[in-house]
């Protein structure tokens, strides 16, 4: 067992090995764009309907527009660089997020279910999400934006591995 809390060296979490599909950027861009459009439409509608000519609202609209464009331009790429996954013989490891990050590790022996899901947009782009759940109520591991074949492969491999492990995984 290592000495905890010492200041020797510098232990850090390395990113998982595999990236998700590059098309995931497109998928996240679409999502981001639709979010920004809805927000801008709401504010714009408000500006148009308000009884007095409101310069503040127009300025807010412009600021929001610039921020929104920035978000759509930056977030998907940033997310693409963060989102990664890896499986070893003993564990599944994922990284997600963009501004805030989250890394999740689950040992193979504790995996309960492996689900593959595809929304309409993901289907159009040939992408899949793989969700790995454990007995904990605290959040399953999700890998978004995988190539469809890769996802199917991964799900099958995980299912096979976890079936080989005895016990009720709690």
């Amino acid at each position: 067992m290592i000495d905890v809390g010492g200041t020797e060296g510098g232990v850090r979490l390395r990113p998982p090995r595999h990236r998700v599909a590059r098309r995931a950027v497109l998928w996240w861009s679409c999502q981001a764009a639709s979010r920004v459009v809805v927000l801008l439409a709401a504010v714009g509608f408000g500006a148009w309907w308000s009884p007095f000519p409101n310069r503040a609202l127009v300025i807010a609209l412009i600021v929001l527009g610039v921020l929104g464009i920035g978000y759509v331009a930056v977030m998907p790429w940033w997310r693409y660089r963060v989102h990664r996954w890896e499986t070893t013989d003993s564990a599944v490891y994922t990284a997600a997020g963009w501004l805030s990050r989250e890394w999740r590790v689950a040992p193979m022996s504790r995996i309960q279910t492996v689900d593959t899901a595809r929304g309409p947009l993901q289907r159009a782009l040939g992408l899949s999400s793989v969700t790995v759940t454990t007995a904990s109520a605290a959040g399953p591991l999700t890998i978004d934006g995988l190539e469809r074949d890769v996802a199917a492969d991964l799900a099958e491999r995980l299912t096979r591995t976890t079936q080989a492990t005895p016990g009720d995984a709690t």
Binding site: I2, G5, G9, R81, W103, P107
Partner: protein, 554 residues
Amino acid sequence: MSELPPEETTAAPAPPPDPFEDWQRLDPKAVIASTALVLAPMFPIVAIMAVSDENSGRTLATVGVMLGVVVLTLVGSWLNWYFTRFRVTAERFELREGNISRSFRSIPRERVRSVDLTAPVVHRLLGISVVKIGTGQKAGNDELKLDAISTARAEELRRLLLRPRAGTTSEGVPPPVTGSGEETGTEELARIRPVWYLYSTLTASLLLFTWAAVGSALSTLSDVFRTLWAADTATDWLSDTAASVWAHVPLWAVVVAAVVTVLLGGLLGALAFSLEMWWGFRLTREGDATLRVRRGLLTTRAVSLERRRLRGVELAEPMLLRLAGGSRLTAVATGLEHGETSGRSDNKVLLPPAPRGVAGRIGALVLDRSGTLEDGTPLRVHPRVALRRRLSRVLLPAMLLAAALAVAAHQSGAVPWWSWLVPLGAALPASVLAWDAYRNLGHGHRDEYLVTRYGTGVKRTVLLQREGIIGWRISQSPLQRLTGLLTVSATTAAGNGYYSVRDAGTEQGLSFAESCVPGLLSPFLEKNSDFTSESGDSPDGTSHERTTKRTDHP
């Protein structure tokens, strides 16, 4: 079951090898109990109407309606009783119920995780108990409820269902009858002391609860007065006297009197509640398999918990209780729903609010550790940055608010000039709390347990079995990344689902996680002094893949 009334032991007919093998009915007295519950509140209403109302026709009509309700309840619960049957076979527990829509549920006996006995007042008078069988399934409607069977049989059923499967060979021996719980293998771990009632009055929720109860009682009382036509004279007299008294008393005295009344009343009420809740509390261990909590003055509750489901304990110290040196002990176990959502949080209570030392000792006993929960290596302190983070979280908003108020006061007269002092004044106690929150942060391990401590409003110390950790969740917000902190959460099937070490140093947190579950995180850790120059976690993955050096920790 020393608190339950003595029970006729004839309820179980001839004791065959397994007394619940055939289809069983509930106790017919259940019908009486549920009718009595409907009937009881009607008496005062009818009495008041009979005394006060001149219109006897209306009284009669009301009585008629009430009788109708009673008859309907009677018929309904009789039908319920008639159609409800259950049995325990060698493998399964089966329950048939429903009159209009029938239902049949069948649960494998290994899936039964808890059998709780509750007896509200009426049930107790009749010698019957409500049995709840928990299967620990997260999906709703997981609870099987038998309302009600005679207490002795309920006790027998509980013992049968919770008997470890290995011990099924001994089923031929009928368990020692009567629910006295004095049979061999039962070991008492804790029993309430009179002083503990005082501790439990110190939980703020009880104080609030008391005043809510008093409020509703007062409004009911005033309704009664109004019905009795006594309202005018009584309230007039009261308000007249009050006015004449208060006219000669300075304001501060009135305020002090009010505060004292509220506090004293709250304390007395809380004392009453804690007496009701914790009367006759006993924590026992039955054989090696179950822990059992029994308590209650009017309504008795008996909760059983399988020890193999126990993954740890949590010591919670709400601020008031902490100042008095007290602590609450709850179980971290699989199969118990989250307390917050299910409203059944009391089924994981292991000890009423008690002196901290006692709670620590009992906690260690429950977990089979020697000494107390505090024994072992002291917890590790978190980096000072964590304190700065807490302080700035409090101080920055206060400063901003003060500045905004000062500007607003300068610009317009609507805001009083001194208003900016208020957030500044509040900042002082808030930063004391922030300091306390930092001081309470800590983590470490003791024997087979991960320990984490956090919180200031409620300070919590959680011991989680390292075996029970089924994964890690490590998160870092942008600010945490800048300051080199991260939050490490151990996910588990028990309790909240995860327990966090908040704002640990990056390296501290990671190596802690690694040492808690050796081997799980190590393939994903890298140890290299070069990285100290490369600040933070750059999202550029390719360079990492090139420089990756796996170090397998010894």
